[in-house]
Symmetry: C2
Subunit: 340 residues, 2 copies
């Protein structure tokens, strides 16, 4: 929270995207007890337990609520399921009329278990550990809602936006409202800060990046702050690359999450000078471990350690990641304490 | 060729990546006559015909030889095939010992038909139309050679490089030599310029971008120019984003191909001020056509039209692209002639 307020710490705080998940044996045990991935997300007792597991094991400085970005489409009435080894499946919105199948506003009754999970975790978390909520950015949600699944090139959503710009804008507007309401409730339930995941921001061309990434997220931030004035928000426009400058100018988030592909000198000179940053370890360096991991960690601390910085990956933990590599990472980041 | 020499033209020359291909009915007719995709690449008469088809139909300012980047692994002795609707399949190099299966140097006998195709096209092409050769960049070739197919995240090659950095460096070295030899022969056969496609450059983290993208391509450019002093070379590091500045500094190509994801103001201010540029229309804007296409074309001409610029897509033509949209594009780019 101090870094989100702009402070530079001698040892950066650390948490990892997807830190609660399949790479942990204790997670896999809990997962077996839930009927489906979504039923795990919506079981406050189990979701809270899974959220807390990596805090207990690694002593991370932040917990992120166990959930999925697709609970928002689900709470808008779209059918969402997760097939094992297949990723998400949704009832695709392949033409404008299909938007009529969605609820006009988010159903908070559907999301009530998520808010309860936040309250439970908050009550059990050591006070020094921050609790993070999150949501998917409208563009990224739209890619799944329109394609009905993950795709490599986001072609269905990109073509929908070209062919039906007005209907697409309406979908984005609805997601702006839904996401804002969802984040406000997360703050009210006890979240200290939230992260907005725009996993597929990078695929957008120049003009569309402004229309479908910057503008909607800017509106979400404004709406959330109109209710929660001091709301701390991390933006994560994955793949934004050269558009990070525009994102910064258009979206007044407190910190920028950096993927593993950004040039570190650019991030330091153009981003960290203006905003706290978070990232950007290659998840595959964590998977590889050993000297590869040490060298990658050191390069990141060297580049970003002097400014306002939260250590994290540039994307989620890969399921095959050995627990020992995560231990190695945490020790490496924290051993700097003595040196500095 | 004048733009590659740094000249700004009042109407930019235009060609399209994958301009010879499945979206053209006359291509599909020829394709039916060849037993396989590779046998079409290696049939000089048919490959020359297919190369010339888009020049006749649209009057593009450059022809690019019909071939595939994977002819280089093929000429190094790796088994390569193209399954219809599946993409390429190679005999994956999944561990370091497998490199022993490759030839030490490229087999020019295997590539002789490609050189003959270049000579044939050269003799038939109007003198005002430039003839382009090409190759894949070592990193991008390695992703296919190691995975045995295309993947979304290039995980196999990235993990191979982390686990076996020395073996990976040897593979890259061999590809540097093979690609340099291949490009030199293309120039000798009649190519006016060549393009180096690094389709998967963008996925690399900061340090690896230097090691596996910039350094090998820099060595290829040096090797080619040591034999063909005036060799004109276009680099296309797709997804390089914020690393374009480093790429420019490390790779003395004559022009930079821009993908559709780069910020145009960055490309104009940081790239075009130092080097000719080529790109960067979203292939899906061409697929969409209509006002979407017109607006996208105008934005590009507005951003880049005053400097040294070659109009192109930011990636290859999508197979479903209507021929009429390509006609619309060419007319739109050339109508500027009267205006300026």
């Amino acid at each position: 929270m101090r870094v989100l307020a702009g402070e530079s710490l001698s040892v950066p705080p650390i948490w990892l995207m997807r830190q609660a998940g399949r790479y942990l044996p204790e997670y896999r045990k809990i997962r077996e007890r839930a009927e489906s991935f979504l039923s795990l997300c919506f079981n406050p007792q189990l979701a809270a337990e899974v959220t807390l597991q990596p805090i207990r094991r690694f002593g991370f400085d932040a917990a992120i609520i166990f959930s999925d970005i697709l609970v928002v489409p689900h709470a808008l009435g779209q059918r969402v399921s997760f097939e094992v080894g297949e990723g998400p499946r949704l009832d695709a919105l392949s033409e404008p009329d299909a938007l009529g199948r969605l609820r006009p506003t988010i159903d908070h009754a559907v999301l009530a278990p998520a808010y309860e999970t936040i309250a439970r975790v908050k009550s059990e978390l050591p006070p020094a550990v921050a609790l993070l909520g999150f949501c998917g950015a409208p563009w990224t949600l739209a890619t799944y809602m329109i394609a009905g699944r993950g795709t490599a090139d986001q072609l269905p959503a990109r073509m929908f936006a070209y062919h039906y710009p007005q209907a697409f804008a309406e979908l984005i507007d609805r997601l702006v409202d839904a996401s804002s309401d969802y984040l406000i409730r997360q703050f009210e339930a006890g979240a200290d800060a939230v992260q907005i995941f725009d996993t597929w921001a990078g695929i957008l061309p120049d003009d569309e990046f402004g229309k479908w990434c910057i503008d909607p997220i800017g509106r979400i931030v404004a709406k959330v702050r109109s209710r929660i004035a001091a709301a701390r928000i991390i933006g994560f426009p994955r793949g934004a690359g050269t558009r990070l400058g525009r994102y910064l100018a258009g979206v007044p988030v407190d910190a920028i999450g950096l993927d593993w592909m950004v040039e570190r000198s650019y991030a330091r000179d153009y981003v960290q000078k203006r905003r706290a940053i978070q990232g950007n370890l290659d998840p595959l360096a964590l998977l590889a471990g050993g000297h590869t991991l040490d060298r990658a960690v050191d390069a990141i601390l060297e580049a970003f350690g002097e400014g306002a910085f939260i250590f994290n990956l540039g994307h989620g933990v890969v399921p095959d990641t050995p627990v020992a590599h995560v231990e190695q990472l945490v020790a490496r980041v924290r051993r700097m304490r003595g040196v500095r």
